[in-house]
Symmetry: D2
Subunit: 444 residues, 4 copies
Amino acid sequence: MVAGAGGKSGEPSEKVLARIRRQLKECAEGLGGEVSTRLRAGRLAETYLSLDDAGRIAFLRMIALEFGPDPKRIAKAHEAYQAAVGTERQWDAEAQLRAAMRSSRIRILTQFNAIPQGVKFLVDLRADLLRFLEKDKELKSLDRELEARLTAWFDVGFLELTRLTWNSPAALLEKIVQYEAVHEIQSWRDLKNRLGSDRRCYAFFHPRMPQEPLIFVEVALMEDLADNVQKLLDENAPAADTDRATTAIFYSISATQEGLRGVSFGNFLLKRVLDDLKRDFPKLNTFATLSPIPGLVRWASKHPDEVAAAFTETDWKRLAAIGIEGPDSERLKPVLAGSHGWVADRPLARALRDPLLRTAAAYLLGGRRDSKAIDPVARFHLGNGARIERLNWLADTSDKGLDQSWGIMVNYLYDPDRIVTNVETFAASGEIDAAAGVKRLARR
Amino acid sequence: MVAGAGGKSGEPSEKVLARIRRQLKECAEGLGGEVSTRLRAGRLAETYLSLDDAGRIAFLRMIALEFGPDPKRIAKAHEAYQAAVGTERQWDAEAQLRAAMRSSRIRILTQFNAIPQGVKFLVDLRADLLRFLEKDKELKSLDRELEARLTAWFDVGFLELTRLTWNSPAALLEKIVQYEAVHEIQSWRDLKNRLGSDRRCYAFFHPRMPQEPLIFVEVALMEDLADNVQKLLDENAPAADTDRATTAIFYSISATQEGLRGVSFGNFLLKRVLDDLKRDFPKLNTFATLSPIPGLVRWASKHPDEVAAAFTETDWKRLAAIGIEGPDSERLKPVLAGSHGWVADRPLARALRDPLLRTAAAYLLGGRRDSKAIDPVARFHLGNGARIERLNWLADTSDKGLDQSWGIMVNYLYDPDRIVTNVETFAASGEIDAAAGVKRLARR
Amino acid sequence: MVAGAGGKSGEPSEKVLARIRRQLKECAEGLGGEVSTRLRAGRLAETYLSLDDAGRIAFLRMIALEFGPDPKRIAKAHEAYQAAVGTERQWDAEAQLRAAMRSSRIRILTQFNAIPQGVKFLVDLRADLLRFLEKDKELKSLDRELEARLTAWFDVGFLELTRLTWNSPAALLEKIVQYEAVHEIQSWRDLKNRLGSDRRCYAFFHPRMPQEPLIFVEVALMEDLADNVQKLLDENAPAADTDRATTAIFYSISATQEGLRGVSFGNFLLKRVLDDLKRDFPKLNTFATLSPIPGLVRWASKHPDEVAAAFTETDWKRLAAIGIEGPDSERLKPVLAGSHGWVADRPLARALRDPLLRTAAAYLLGGRRDSKAIDPVARFHLGNGARIERLNWLADTSDKGLDQSWGIMVNYLYDPDRIVTNVETFAASGEIDAAAGVKRLARR
Amino acid sequence: MVAGAGGKSGEPSEKVLARIRRQLKECAEGLGGEVSTRLRAGRLAETYLSLDDAGRIAFLRMIALEFGPDPKRIAKAHEAYQAAVGTERQWDAEAQLRAAMRSSRIRILTQFNAIPQGVKFLVDLRADLLRFLEKDKELKSLDRELEARLTAWFDVGFLELTRLTWNSPAALLEKIVQYEAVHEIQSWRDLKNRLGSDRRCYAFFHPRMPQEPLIFVEVALMEDLADNVQKLLDENAPAADTDRATTAIFYSISATQEGLRGVSFGNFLLKRVLDDLKRDFPKLNTFATLSPIPGLVRWASKHPDEVAAAFTETDWKRLAAIGIEGPDSERLKPVLAGSHGWVADRPLARALRDPLLRTAAAYLLGGRRDSKAIDPVARFHLGNGARIERLNWLADTSDKGLDQSWGIMVNYLYDPDRIVTNVETFAASGEIDAAAGVKRLARR
């Protein structure tokens, strides 16, 4: 794409780096007016796209390290600011300090916005940046500035809620298939079923990325709290009668843009979908999820004591009856590690039900990191004000479901009357709202 | 609207101020999660709208002065930053300092975005702020933060260029009538004429203010450089044959949102309109304006020497021939001050032509403020790379035209081959590109 | 447009007629396939547009008289048909007779559909035809065939009901101004008032004439039955509170396309508007018009006895008291003839109220032509199932209102419970549904 | 759906028939005004949909036989018409005769248009009618009237040409998959390939059947005349560079609505697609099809002499060399009857190439029915002005391709300079335009 863009597969030569540096400078200085600056930035964006990872790291490091603010100017402005604190000059001095802090980095990046698909370009560039950041902490300041800009651009006030249906463009639905992160979409038939008359699918879009759903949620309208995801996704099941639906089940939520990490809009999506559903189906009175517990088995393998504590004497008796003698049984170990075959062994599955549900409850209610719930999905919903309503045994018997949580799924319930309190309590103390039945399971 | 919002006409009582303060704090802290924070901000926005100016000043001062960053935290972060300069910790330290600088002000303001028409609300709030700022410098820091946010939101990458025609919604065209700032639109018939087959009208829109043109330009397609705006706006003139058009005249450019002062997109508008016109009419080879000179008469009244220098002996002879004896003539004075009647006196008008054109040239090429061209319209076009191509005598004989520039108008020419150079030269040295004829006029 | 299209102002020469004849034949025969036939028809349509009336008459007569069916072929098919009646061959024979009747006229006309705006072209051609038909009965067969085709094309199933608002394209609203046939729209401000929050305006469109409203109705949402159209159209009156509206007043209905005479869709418009209003404003319980009585004064001038019978002795006494002595009074005559000034004479106006309302009632309930109500507006509404609910004195004091009906207007009420019965009764016997008060007025 | 709609599975009882008859009469008479008539017709349409075939036949026969015109009235009007022929009363008399012929059938059918999806309902009803007509000739008159009305409604002037892309609604693309009649679409991936950057797909739509493509064509942009459909449909082949494309291959044309038989718009589709392609790709100079020969093998099996004549002595020698001795060979017979395996036998395939291509040429150029080309696809393209450009051996080796034409396909070429002449010649004399090479093949 870019002649002479570099040695092997896109890594830039010294000569190319020098050219890039010169162009970045011109962008930063704005020579030739905004219009030609943007044109130049457009060419730079193309250069970036033609580079391999090593080249991109060099490119981004150049922006991060060479176009930051001037420490001396900051020092001076800071001194003036501190001297003005408490006087009426404080506010002007603050503005001066802020001006001194302003770097050319964001100016350069923003100008990339000029190419077609410019916003998507910057979101993808941020995804690169996050990847590189793991090894190269010096990119952090650049990442923070870009995150702040993307946060401004992706303010929920700008997002459009769109309902996706079987009448949506095929190219868009194809993206839903690609981006679905919770329960893989197997085929167009599977997809059509998820857009049937008893289903809803909503996505947030940004006006400048009209072809890219940012986050989407799939909803089933039902008469009861769903307890099994395979049943829910069964293509051969008849569509439910939505006139009788009382319950909306959010069974899949997928964020799609890695580059928007830290820019949150999931809770708004749920809020607005909820409003939309209530308007269309006034009888709906229950809003809940049917959610995976992605970290359960992994956690269990690291906390054998917690698992052991979940098995009562009655449990062991039942297990002994089918030939499993104690925690070291060679039949039990692979189950706990997330193997699959045991589900078909119905007596075994029945005997494991109670202790594994107890383990799951202990994990959800007790597992902590930084005093937050340890499970990422739990953290998302509890942070949004949900409560843990019910655990469901053998609710997802796909390989993935057995791998990560022995097939257990959880219903998080959004009760409009409790959401605000829950958000505050969870934020303040990490305390988790859960139904009595779930708490009882967790107790031992 | 807001019960108990205050004493007379919207000024808030102490009690109301206390309530506002409490709500602002809740917004800033984000208690109850993003959703309920936004709801609260929505209510606050309504409160703001119900206040009178005194109330609004109190409201904005509260945000400006009480929700700024903490000087002590800044001092600490700054110390760490300066210590890290030159080490690899510099970039992380910079991010920390930036975090310390982050104020709650912008967070609060951004949340107002949640109300319907939220973007428009903030743009109008900025217009208030600019008004109040003239007397109250302590609002400056808040204004700068808001300007930065609006600059991010109104990045030209987000703006949509739309062609307005007689098929556009009447409600939108009505706004064009209201916002037209250069040559007032007299009636719907006048408007329809400006949207005729030999005209074009383009506007920039923001996706979240779909009913509000941000800036718009009116263009006439002609065979020659236009020299008279009344002729150009004549509703009874037949439409020109666009197949023969070689010249696009930008005869009116109006920015509409006071609250977006400092957020520039005028040059982009011209650039994109130019591209659009070239695609539709490949024969076009000249792009120019027919522009007012708003500051000429005012400047002349303050610089009598410059005016005097523009009158040659020949001029005085010609004037003497019609009974005007020297600069103190009682017939000349009101003319120079911007009176109207003299235009009908054709011998007088003929005698004044040369000296007044010379004065105009002197003003445009010589008048300076901060080494920039003094005329605001000239500054806009020269900054965008145009050149002063021609001065036109009696080109706008409306009262307004005579008031501000003795009816003189100017063609600024956008020559694609010179734009970049002009922008750079003008930016670097303030040097102005002008046609030989104009320079000659200015020479004495 | 057409070189050599003829002598003066478009009348075709013999040579041109011969060329037209040849082209019509080619169209009728379909030589060169459908595509080139349509191209040829397109050129013919252009020729037609370039002709003056005399030329167009010649053109249409040529189609009417030279491209009809073959009487001999009809005779033969008719004989076979009659012979087959009662046998199972009857239906095939009917199809054969129908085939023999098929003329090339409609084939030619339909092909004009190929030009852009083809449907509008044919509708306008029909308007020409109707005009010419008044003098030239030989065009009748052509007119009937075209009417049948237009009836098929403008089947209400194809029409789209569109609500017009201040956000509709200005070009479309301009047409509303032009086409309004009942209460002239004075200005864009007047128009905007008719599209205000307490108003509705609906139009029917055909998918192939997207810029042309076929018929439109203006509605006011009120708390009472409207009794005065000037009040209703007052631009300075505040908008009513639609939350309290119980009554929808259809105060203006205008059909726009002369060429669609005989193709009725007015009743469907009312039906669909009614449905739309009921959905948006569930509190609405009264649907009525405020209608003119266009034929009243004209009828009265031809039926002096009916007028005389409407004056009671009490009326004459009241008139005498203000100096008017009997029917031959020179002050009374011009009033009855539709003069204007008397309205300002309030005692006179008061004295005339009862006898003139009685005359109006007599006209509406008693005046007949072909056993149908004589007033065209009455015929439209009564035929659609309305009843005469109330007469309103000085309800339209515009010149037009005084000219045609002494300022009297009528409310036709659409009562969902009576519509079907009314339609049937009116169609069968011409019997008119009217409120007791109106009947009482008519009785003497 | 309809209570008491009849005995088994929808056949109507006498009682139901009586009710239907009564409702049809009410429709025909229009009692209660247009609005209630339409409502009634809507209910009748629902009744129709609830009936089985026997019920529908009864229903349609009732309309056909009981709502036709009155033979006596026709006789009288016919007598008056014949008497008026040659006088100026002829044209009025013709209109009278036409009025007498008008039946209530079409009025009833048209009113079905009132239900949602009314147009689609009538198209499907016509499909029923065509099916029943094969056995019940008495329905013919009804069919002809309905065909005439559908012809009016589906005039090409009303149809909208739409380009279908991967951004079209999935529900619409699904219909393309269902309706594709030439080369079955195997999967969404296959479909996406047919909508790729080097492909075009166009469909005609009627404004009242927005979800139903009436006819669609698939086009490939190439550098040469395509000679193999499997290659053309290969999902793994890279997209061609459309900048270099000179040739547009129409490789699939499918009409979708059985009920529109006799209403032709295929030629218009090709014409408009051609125009659209020429605008988008000015370099295109060749427009041709790659078409199947659906009747070849069937025809060959009935004309063994024609097949025998296509084998030269050289052919027999080549066949003898691989062990096939004469026309009665047991290895040759199944090939000629359309078996599949032989394609893999490359020496055999090579030996059969010439004689079978000769047979195909003989079929296309010589096979006749009613002096028209016998192959339906040939008839369509030749009637539209195409010429037979080239025969392609093993161009479609799918089972279907081998079954119907030994895998042979044909390129019909649309040469803008010859289309009109070809249409006329073919229409007048049935003479077929073919390339020299094809004619040579046919000669023996």
